[in-house]
């Protein structure tokens, strides 16, 4: 077994008596004082944490990290996720003790630098999006959407009138859109896409009535198309008294080019972890500030930052505020990164970013279109979708092509999304990639097309060169093993009943 590839769990590497971090030995209260705690309150069960030395723990995690693909090591054209480069100066900024060691309830005067960042970041987001005020609390896009739905409800409630129970979402929308609306009790109505991949205006009109609370839209949509009827769409929804929510996950191609606020959106979230270049961390944390037009400001979660004569401060909550949606002020660490990025971008940088994102996507689309079917016509924005339906004959699915790309050293594009495209492969190169990288990817895709023709099994069974081959996810879901405890339990049970365990590896050589 190679230590560098030792994939045992920390629990399996544990040995009684080993210690890593050392802790102070002094006790100030005197040895016996612990005895004053009522027995009934004390923990009786042991805590089965692993016992390892620091060197072994560090090696464990560093070697684990080496099994990942990441933006810093690989091209990661994951559609809808905007896996752009995460600038190192942003990380540097967020690590400064002068920010990281601030308590959220410190007296305002002692955190003026922090306040200034929050304030200026909000100002920047307002300018870029065309909105009037932001709450920085939401932790991610979906959290922003949920907050948005609360704002929608509070707004309509404040105005009386008919009860508005419907939230409209296009069938191409991201799963969080309907999920956020439904979680908050709204009835979700799907609007069809037309043959071009945009909102079907007729279908939309059919659903517009006085029960519409809101239309949620991402623009460009998940097919990478700018909704060219956007002004008509927002006009129609407003006309029937509904609000417009903008899912800002796809803001990257619009910096300095067009603003959701100008399109007529009332509420918007921005994924700082996408457009504003903060790292995804293997799934989070993100940050999903929610911006609104004037008429919705009173409903925002509090507290907001305000500028006073004595400096920045927390504004007292508006009586109409929906209330806080998070423990404290949001994912501030992510905001510090986004702030550093905003300062680097500046006025001049905005458009450059979006132009390059759009150009890169169009270049890839054009270079691939002879080999693969593009799901849409004409130019795309920052991403595009291929439909690999034609390979079904060989039994090859979009997901297989994604897996085969891993062997070529590329992270897979988003597969099987958006749902409206059969066998979808959704490619978003972002602006930070070099042309050479795009060319390598294009070549790999063409090579794979050839493989499908000549040796489809190779593609269907890919990847072949990664730390593991395809995990059996049916087994994973049928017999969920979600912790080391489950593993131990399963093993004991299997031993008893003489059955095979899911965790075969434990049975074989260690």
């Amino acid at each position: 077994m190679l230590i560098s590839q030792d994939d045992r769990l920390s629990f399996e590497k544990s040995k009684p008596g080993r210690r890593a971090v050392s802790l102070p030995k002094d006790r100030f209260s005197g040895e016996d004082s612990l005895k004053n705690i009522p027995k009934g309150l004390l923990r009786q069960t042991s805590i089965g944490f692993p016992e390892m030395s620091e060197p072994d723990i560090v090696r464990h995690f560093i070697n684990l990290s080496r099994k990942n693909f990441s933006v810093d090591t690989h091209f990661y054209p994951l559609g809808s996720c905007t896996m752009k480069y995460n600038p190192k100066v942003n990380e540097w900024a967020a690590r400064q003790e002068k920010f990281s060691a601030l308590h959220p309830l410190q007296v305002e005067a002692t955190a003026q630098g922090m306040f200034q960042i929050l304030w200026e970041l909000e100002e920047g987001l307002k300018e870029i999006s065309g909105m009037d005020r932001f709450t920085m609390q939401p932790a991610a896009g979906a959290h922003g959407e949920l907050t948005g739905m609360m704002l929608v409800r509070a707004y309509h409630a404040s105005r009386g009138g008919p009860t508005r129970t419907k939230v409209l979402v296009p069938d191409s929308s991201h799963g969080t859109n309907p999920a956020s609306a439904a979680l908050f009790g709204y009835h979700v109505v799907e609007i069809k896409s037309n043959s071009h991949g945009c909102v079907d205006m007729d279908d939309l009109k059919q659903h517009l009535d006085e029960h519409v609370a809101c239309l949620m839209l991402t623009n460009p949509n998940t097919l990478g198309l700018f909704e060219k009827n956007i002004l008509e769409i927002t006009r129609l929804v407003h006309q029937c008294g509904g609000l417009l929510y903008y899912d800002g996950a796809n803001l990257n191609p619009l910096l300095g080019i067009a603003r959701p606020g100008d399109m007529g959106f009332d509420i918007i979230h921005i994924n700082l972890h996408k457009t504003f270049s903060t790292p995804h961390g293997g799934g989070g944390p993100g940050s999903g500030p929610v911006g609104v037009k004037k008429h919705l400001i009173p409903f925002l979660p509090g507290p907001l930052v305000e500028q006073t004569k004595k400096g920045y401060a927390w504004a007292s909550s508006s009586p109409q505020s929906i209330g806080r949606v998070k423990l404290f002020h949001g994912n501030v660490g992510v905001m510090v990164r986004a702030y550093a990025y905003l300062k680097t971008l500046g006025k001049e940088g905005l458009r450059k970013v979006s132009e390059a994102a759009i150009l890169n996507a169009n270049y890839m689309k054009e270079m691939l279109k002879d080999t693969f079917k593009v799901a849409t016509d004409g130019p795309c924005m920052h991403e595009f979708v291929l439909s690999l339906k034609s390979f079904s004959a060989q039994g090859v699915h979009a997901g297989d092509v994604g897996k085969r790309l891993l062997d070529y050293g590329f992270h897979a594009p988003t597969v099987h999304f958006p749902l409206v495209v059969p066998e979808a492969l959704m490619i978003e190169p972002t602006e930070t990639e070099a042309r050479e990288t795009l060319d390598l990817f294009i070549q790999a895709m063409k090579d794979i097309a050839l493989e499908i023709a000549t040796d489809p099994e190779k593609v269907k069974n890919a990847p072949h060169t990664l730390p593991v081959r395809r995990p059996n996810d049916v087994l994973a879901a049928r017999k969920p093993i979600l912790s080391y405890r489950d593993q131990v339990r399963e093993k004991a049970l299997a031993a008893e009943k003489m059955l095979p365990t899911t965790d075969c590896r434990l049975q074989t050589s260690d």
Binding site: D7, S29, A182, G282, L359, E431, R469, P471, L475, T502
Partner: protein
């Protein structure tokens, strides 16, 4: 822009190669009236200027490293092992997306799986998710699980649960048919058992307690779960996870869900976030868990492999029928907690809890000796406790701030009746001299 690769020549060449005359052709779908908005932003800064700006802004803050801080109330100053920081900084962890491609994400997946395993050990429950946004949202989701699982309309919440948690829960439930009812705490800070029992009726989906509660007291929950379960409701517990190294775990108290804030597990305070919502529950509620789960399985060769599992619960599969809408979570924070707990190890988790208790206990005893302040030394605490001042807290705070001491969090903000009372927190970061200096400063007030 230092982060772009395309040169002007390349741009031109690429446009040419794809048969486009000008960039504007690519954005022709954007109505002209929308294009080229006037945006007022300062000019781009170069990296030296950004570094300089960040340093200058930093100097405008007085951090808890510059001052002697006794602030707690939901965000805690703890030592973070240097090794944990390095692990979290590993670029392959930091700049990866959600592990949707398991073959290219075994590092992240195994780390999440280990995090889940550690959390089940710590809480004494069966299944942990991969993280939620923070303690407040995690607890709100727990409330939703209880409401849906029992199909009952009401939550019963101890008033000694963190006020921000309760506010968030109310925000989440406002406008829905669900209701939140509270039961109070006694003069001594412990929850009011009579009121709890009285309000536990057939409409109650779940009951939420916090221990140590917001006032710092370790609640005695003897017999509570039996009552709740007999009523057909779920018991939800939120705790400082570090306190579980010393005090009874949610599992031992009979809780169905442990949901709360994992920040004490190796995350910096960072002015309030990013933190870590933990969510751990029983086997019975497994399929109601919000958020991602990493599971163990086999790969095509029969080798151990990890993947995200039970995804049918989630929004990207189930859309409007999903249990929760969460997508991005706090993965890197879970990794930090995973590294932290692994570094502490089986013995360390007990020790760190004991040391926290020791510091707070010592400080409380010392303050007990001051004539202008009152503490109840008989109540069991973890690392935080309530101090009643005979003088105005605002004045005291002002005096101590002048000595670079952050004395604690005023309770009146949260409980108007607790005028001039404040929460004081002392963790392993405080030396005896630190504590004595604080006591001395208080004595002068």
């Amino acid at each position: 822009m230092p982060y772009l690769s395309l040169t002007e020549e390349e741009k031109k060449a690429m446009l040419g190669e794809i048969g486009v005359r000008s960039f504007d052709e690519l954005i022709k779908d954007i109505p002209v009236s929308l294009r080229d908005p006037k945006i007022s932003l300062p000019s781009s800064l170069s990296e030296p200027e950004v570094q300089d700006l960040i340093s200058k802004l930093g100097r405008k803050n007085t951090s808890t490293k510059d001052a002697l801080s006794f602030l707690g109330a939901g965000s805690y100053e703890h030592f973070i092992p240097a090794a944990a920081l390095e692990i979290v900084g590993r670029q392959e962890f930091l700049t990866a997306y959600t592990p949707y491609q398991p073959e290219a994400s075994q590092g992240t997946l195994q780390a999440i799986y280990e995090y889940q395993s550690l959390m089940t050990e710590l809480t004494g429950l069966d299944v942990s998710n991969a993280s939620h946004y923070d303690g407040a949202t995690s607890l709100a989701e727990a409330a939703l699980v209880a409401l849906k699982h029992t199909d009952r309309p009401k939550l019963l919440v101890a008033r000694s649960v963190h006020p921000h948690y309760r506010e968030t829960m109310r925000t989440y439930l406002a406008g829905t048919p669900y209701k939140v009812e509270e039961f109070g705490f006694n003069e001594d800070g412990n929850f009011n058992r009579e009121e709890f029992v009285a309000k536990l009726d057939a409409t109650v989906a779940g009951v939420i307690f916090q221990t140590p509660n917001f006032l710092g007291l370790v609640e005695d929950l003897e017999g509570v779960s039996e009552k709740i379960h007999a009523n057909g409701s779920l018991m939800i517990l939120t705790s400082d996870p570090l306190s579980l190294g010393l005090f009874k775990s949610p599992g031992e108290w009979g809780a169905d869900i442990a949901a709360g804030e994992g920040q004490p597990l190796g995350l910096s305070m960072m002015f309030g976030g990013p933190y870590l919502g933990y969510f751990v529950t029983t086997q019975a509620l497994m399929r109601r868990i919000p958020g991602r789960l990493a599971g163990l399985t086999q790969d095509a060769d029969g080798k151990r492999a990890f993947c995200l599992t039970l995804q049918a619960r989630e929004q990207h599969i189930r859309r409007e029928r999903a249990g929760s809408n969460i997508c991005s979570n706090q993965a890197l924070c879970a990794l930090a907690a995973c590294a932290y707990m692994t570094l502490l190890g089986k013995k360390g988790i007990h020790e760190i809890a004991e040391i926290n208790w020791d510091r707070a206990n010592y400080l409380r005893n010392k303050i007990a000796g001051l004539k202008n302040f009152e503490v109840d030394t008989m109540q069991p605490i973890f690392n935080e406790f309530r101090v009643k001042s005979k003088k105005s807290f605002a004045k005291i705070e002002e005096k101590l701030m002048a000595q670079d001491i952050f004395p604690g969090v005023a309770l009146e903000t949260f409980y108007p009746e607790l005028k001039d009372q404040f929460l004081v927190c002392a963790t392993e970061t405080k030396s005896k001299e630190d504590l004595d200096r604080f006591v001395e400063a208080l004595a002068q007030c």
